[in-house]
Amino acid sequence: MNRWLTFIVLFWLLAGCAEAPQPPLRVGVNPWVGYDPLVLAGERRLFDPTRVRVVELSSNTESQRALRNGLLDGAALTLDEVLRLADAGLELKIIAVLNVSHGADAVLAREGIRAPADLEGQTIALEQTALGTLVLDRLLRAGNLSRDDVHLIHVEAAQHGSVLTSGRADAVITFEPMKSWLAARNFQVIFDSRAMPGEIVDVLVARADVLEPRLPEWVELLAGWERARRALLADESAADSLAPGVELTPEDYRATLGGLTLTDLKEGVRLLSGPSPELTRVGSGVAETLRQLGLIDRAPDWGALLDARPVMQASATLEAGS
C-alpha cells in the first residue's frame, strides 16, 4: 500500500515539476590576485556550490573564449577586454567592479632612466594586449613622447624579467608580481597605475541572457565576494593558503595585493549606479584610447553595458545581515 502511495506521490511530483532543473551558474576567473576573493568564496563555500561555481581557467584568453562559446555564464575580466568583447557583438552586462589597479601595473627601467621623458630613442618591451597598449599610451603621454620616439618589442609576460636583465630592452611595461621581482633587482619604477586612477579596472560581467532569469544567484555570488574580500584583508592565513595556487610566495602575494584596491560593494554601487555612473566616466577614456588604437570600432553603449541591480541587492542583503 505504501509503495502505491509512493508511486502516486512521485507521479504528482513529476507533474508539479513545471520548471527544468538548472545547473549551477559558472563564472570563470584566470590566475590574478585581484580575482582571488571569488576563488576564496568558492573554497569557503560562501555561496551554495549547487547554485554558483567559480571555475579557475589558465588565462584571460581562455575565459573570453569560454564566455563566447557559452561555457561560462559570467567571467572576471579587465575593463578593456570587456569593451572589446562588447564591441565584437557579445551581449554582456558589467555587474560589479572587482578591483582597481593602484600601482600594481608599472613601468620599470634600467639604471639611468629616471622618468618617462628619458625613454626617447629607447627600447620598450610590452605584452601585445589592450592593457599593455593602454599603459604605453599613458606612459608616452606622461613623457610627452610619440610612438615614433621609441622602439617597441612585444614579449610574453613570463619573459618580462629576462628581457630587461639581459639588456634586450631598456624598459618594460609589466605588473605584479614581476614588478616587485624587478624592483628588488635595482630596476626603477618610472611610471605606475597610480598615475592613471581608475583606468585599470577589473570587472565582473554576466551574459545578458542569463542575468535576468538567475538574478538571485548573481546576488548570492556578489555577497560571497564581499565576505571573501573582507576575510582576505583581515586574515593573513587566507592569503597564505591562496598563494601556492598562483605559484607566489606569501610575500609576493601580499605585495601584489598591496598594489590593488579590492572594491567593496558600496563602492561598487557608487561606480555602477546613478544617472551617470562613475565607471562610465573612467571607461569612456579607456574606450576612446581603444578606439584610437583601432581595437574597437565605436564607443560603447554604456546604458546597455551596466547593470547595478545585483550589486545593489547584494549590498542590501549584507547590510540587513550584518
Binding site: 507533474a15 527544468a20 532543473p21 545547473p23 579557475e56 581557467l57 581562455e62 601556492p244 595556487g245
Partner: protein
Amino acid sequence: MTWKPLLIFPARWLVPLLLVLLALMGTVVIYIFQVHEYREDVGLREQRRLLERMAVEQTRLEVQLGQGNRLQARRLVSGLGLYSGVTHAWLTDGEGRIEAALSRLQVGRPLAEILVDESPSLRQAIHHTLDHQEMAVHMHPMPDEEALLGHVAMINDYHLLLRVDLAQPLAERLYAGRGEIWREAGIILLSAVLLAILLHLLWFHRVAQLTATAAALGAGRMEARAGLAGRDELAAIGAAVDRMAEELQQRQAQLRQLASLIDHSPVIAIAWRNEPGWPVSFVSDNVAEWGYAPEEFRSGSLIYADLIHPEDRPRVEAEVAEHFTRGPDDYLQEYRLRRADGQWLWIEDRTWLTRAADGTVVHGEGVLLDVSERRRLRDVERQSEERLQLALRAANQGLYDLDIATGEAVVNTEYATMLGYDPATFRETHLAWIDRLHPDDTARVGQTFRDYVAHRIPDYQVEFRQRTAAGDWKWILSLGKVVLWDADGHPLRMLGTHTDIDERKRVEEALVASEARYREAERVAKVGGWELHLLDNQLWWSEEIFRIFEIDSERFEASYEAFLALVHPEDRERVDEAYQTSVANHEPYQIVHRLLFADGRVKYVRERGETEYADDGHPLRSLGTVQDVTEQVLAEKQVRESEERYRTLVELLPYGVQESDATGRIVFANPALGRLQHGAPEQSIGAMIWDFADDESERESLRDYSSYLIAEQPPPTTYYAVNRRGDGQLIDVQVDWTYLRNADGSPRGFLSVVSDVTERKRLETEIRRANAELEERVRQRTTELATANQELETFTYSVSHDLKAPLRGIDGYSQLLLTDYGDRLDEEGRFFLKNVRQGVAQMSQLIEDLLAYSRMERRSLEQIALDLEETVARILTERKSDLEDRQAQVEVAVRGLTAQADPDGLALVLRNLIDNALKFTRDRQPPVLRIFGRSSDQSTVILSVKDNGIGFDMRFHDRIFEIFQRLQRAEDYPGTGVGLAIVRKAARRMGGRVWAESAPGQGATFYLELPR
C-alpha cells in the same frame, strides 16, 4: 485479503473503477520504465562524453607535464569545472599527492586525506580504479550516487580522476520526457473512460433487462421474455433464458396433458410414503375402473396392502423388505389384487424408491397394470411349448426354434449333446451360435442365410463347423425354414435341424489331403509320372509333367506327339530309339535329353521308364517318370568350365604358385614357380618348400615355421624371404599363403603365391633415404620460418604500440580544434578537419586491430570449459545498442553447450563475427542473425553465425581470413581487413578452426569449431 468484498459493488460501478485503476497502474509502470530507459540513455551519453573529454585532457596534460609546466597543468585541471556535471577533478602524482584539483586549497595535499571527507562509494571506486596502470581511460559507474568516475593513468605515474554527476542530466532528460509521459497517461485514461462508457451501453444496460426477466420468471410469469438484440454472449444468454421460459411454458402444458393421459390409460399411477401403513399420497383417477375412488386411498380409509391376495401377501412383503434393505430400487412384482366387486386381478406392479441421504426409503412411486389376460395366454403357450419339446427329442436330431428379432432360440436335448453341452443348463442364442462358428465358415454361412431370406435360393441348407464344449470343431449340417414373416417380408421365426456330419467330413478331408501331399512331392522333386496304355494308345500325365513341359493342363490333353514336339530336334531320334529298344528288349531305360521351347529356352530332363507285358509277351502299358535336371546339368557344366579357367590362369600367372602338403613337400607348382626357383622353367614338384632358402639357418627356421603353422594354425600373414635361385642368383621374395584344409577343418598343407620383389625392395630403400633427407630440410626451414615469424610479430606489436601515442595527440588536438575553434572555421575548414579526424579514427582502429591480432599470437591462452550460451549472451548484451539501433532480429540456440576455450579469445571471435554480420547486413531491413550451436561428435562443438547480408563468392573463401584482405571497397563497407584474420588466428590458437559458407547475395554463415 480476498476478492469477495469487491462483490458489494455492482458491476456497472466496479468495472469502470477497475479500468481507471488499471489505467493508472499502466501509467505508473510506463513511467517507471521510461525513467529506467532515460537513466540508461543518460549514463551511456555521459560515459561517452567523459571518455572523449578525458582522452583530450590526457593529451593536453601529458604535453604540459612533459614540459614541466605544472602551473599550466593545474589550470587545465581546475578549468575542468567548466564542463557541466564535473564535481571533482584530481591530478595526483606518483606519491598520491594532489598536483591539481578543482579546489585550489586541495593542491599539495595527499589524496587519501581529501578522500576522508568524501562518500565511501567514491573512496572505494577510486581505490579500485587506481590499480589500472594502462594509459587508457577507465569508466566506473557509481550507481548508488548517480555518478560516474573516470580515471586515466599518464606519464610519470600521474593519474587524472574525474567524477561526473549524472543527477543533473538525468533531471533534464526527465523534464524533456515529461510531455511524452503525460501524453501516454492521458491516452490510457481516455481509452479507459471510453471503454467504460462503451461497456455501459453494450452490457450493463442489457444486463439490467435480463435481470428483470429472470425475476419475472421466478415469480411465475412464464410469458415474460428478455428479447435482447444482438449476437454476443449476453444476447445468447437472453435467448437461452427466453428459450427456457418457452420450454417451461410448454412443460407446464405437457404436464397437464400427461395427467389426463394417465387417467385414460389402463396403467394406474400410485405414490406412497414410507410410514406405518404406507399411506397413499397420490393415486391416478383411473383407479375408479377397479371400483375404488381415489379419495378412499388418499384419506387412508382404504389400506392398499389389505387388497393384496392373502396367499401373495407374505411374498410381496418379503420382496419389498428385501428391496428396502438391499435394492435395487427399481423392481417389478406380480400379485393378485382384489377389485371392489370382489374379483381377483393379476397386477404387475412396477415400483421405484426414493431414498434420503442416509439411505432410508422416503417414499415410493409405482405404476400398476392389470395383466390377468396376459397371464392366461402365457399358460396356454407354456403347455404347447412342452408338447413341442417332446417331439424334438423323439426326432434324434438337433432341432432349433429361433426368434430372429430377439436372437433367442429354443433347442432340444440332442442339439446340446451334439455340441458336448449339458442339456439342462444349455441356453442357445443367435450370438452364442455365431460365437461358436468356425471363423472360416462365418462369411459363407452368413451369405447362404442372406440368399435364403432374399429368396435367391429355395432352401436354407448349409454345412459349418461349431466349437464343442471341449473346444474342438464339429461339422454340422443345418437345414432350416422361416416359418413366420412380418408384413414387410422380414423373417421373424425360423425352425430347423442340426445333423452331425463330422465323420463324413473327416473322410473327405483325408482324401483331399493325401492327393495334395502327392502333388506336393512331385512338385518338390520336379519328377512327374506318366502312363501309356499301349492297347488303346491312351496317355496320362501327372500335373508335374504338364508343369515341366509348360503345357496348360486345362486346355491340352497329354499326347506322345506333344511330347516329341518338345524334345530338342537333335535329341529326338535318340529318345525315340531308347524307348523303342527298351520295349523290344524288355528292359527299363534311362536317358537324359534336352527340351527346346518356342522361345529358345532349353531344359534338361531325365526320363526313366519300363513296360509291362501280357503273359504272351505282348506289351500292355508303359510307365515312367520325367525329372527336370536342368539345374544339375548346368551346374556340372559350370564347374568344369571354371576349373579350366583357373588352371589356365595359374599356368599363365607371372607369380609362382605352389601347393605343399603338411610335411612341406611341394605337390603342385606352376611354370612361373619353376622359373623363380631354378631361373628356368624347371619342375619343382617333390622338392621341400624350404629348399630354396639362402642358407641353412634360414632353411631351419622356415622348417620350424612350417611345423608351427600346422600345429597352431594362426591366421595367414604374408612373409618375406631371401631365396637363392638355381642359377645362384639371390632374390627377395614375398610369399602370400593360406591353409589347405581337410573336410574336418584340419590343415593338410599350404597354398602359396611367391612373387619376386627384389626390384621393389631396392626402390623402397631409395625412397626412404630420400624422404629422410627431405624431412630434415623441412624441419630446418620450419624453424627458420618460426623465428622470422616471431620477430615479425614482435615488430608489429611494438610498431602498433608506438604508433598509438602520437595518434592520440593528433586525435586530442583535432578534437579541441573542433570544439573550441569550430565556430571560427568555415564549412570547408570543418570538412577538412572532419576528414583528418576520420583518418585518425580509421588509423586508430587499424592499430587497435593489429594490436589485437598480434596480442592473440603472443599472449598465453587458458583452456577452460566455457558455457557457450552465457558467452554468447554476454557479447550480445555488449552489442545491444548496435543491435537495437539496427532493429536486428537475433536468434540464439546454443543451450547446454560448452567448449574448451580461452574466455577472452572466444569473446574476441564472437564480437568480430557479430560485428562482421552487422556490417554486411547494412542494407537489409531487418538484419537477421542466427547463432546456433551443436556438438558435431564426441570431441568438438560447432558454433555458427548466420546472417542475411550480401554474402560472398566461395572462390574468395580463403582470402577473407587473410590479414588486410578485403572483398568490398572500404568506401562501401568500412573496415581494416583484420577482423576475420583475428578470428582465424584466435580459433587456431584455441585448437579449433573456422570456415564459412556463402554465395553472393545469399548471406553468409561462419562456423567455429572448438574442442569440447
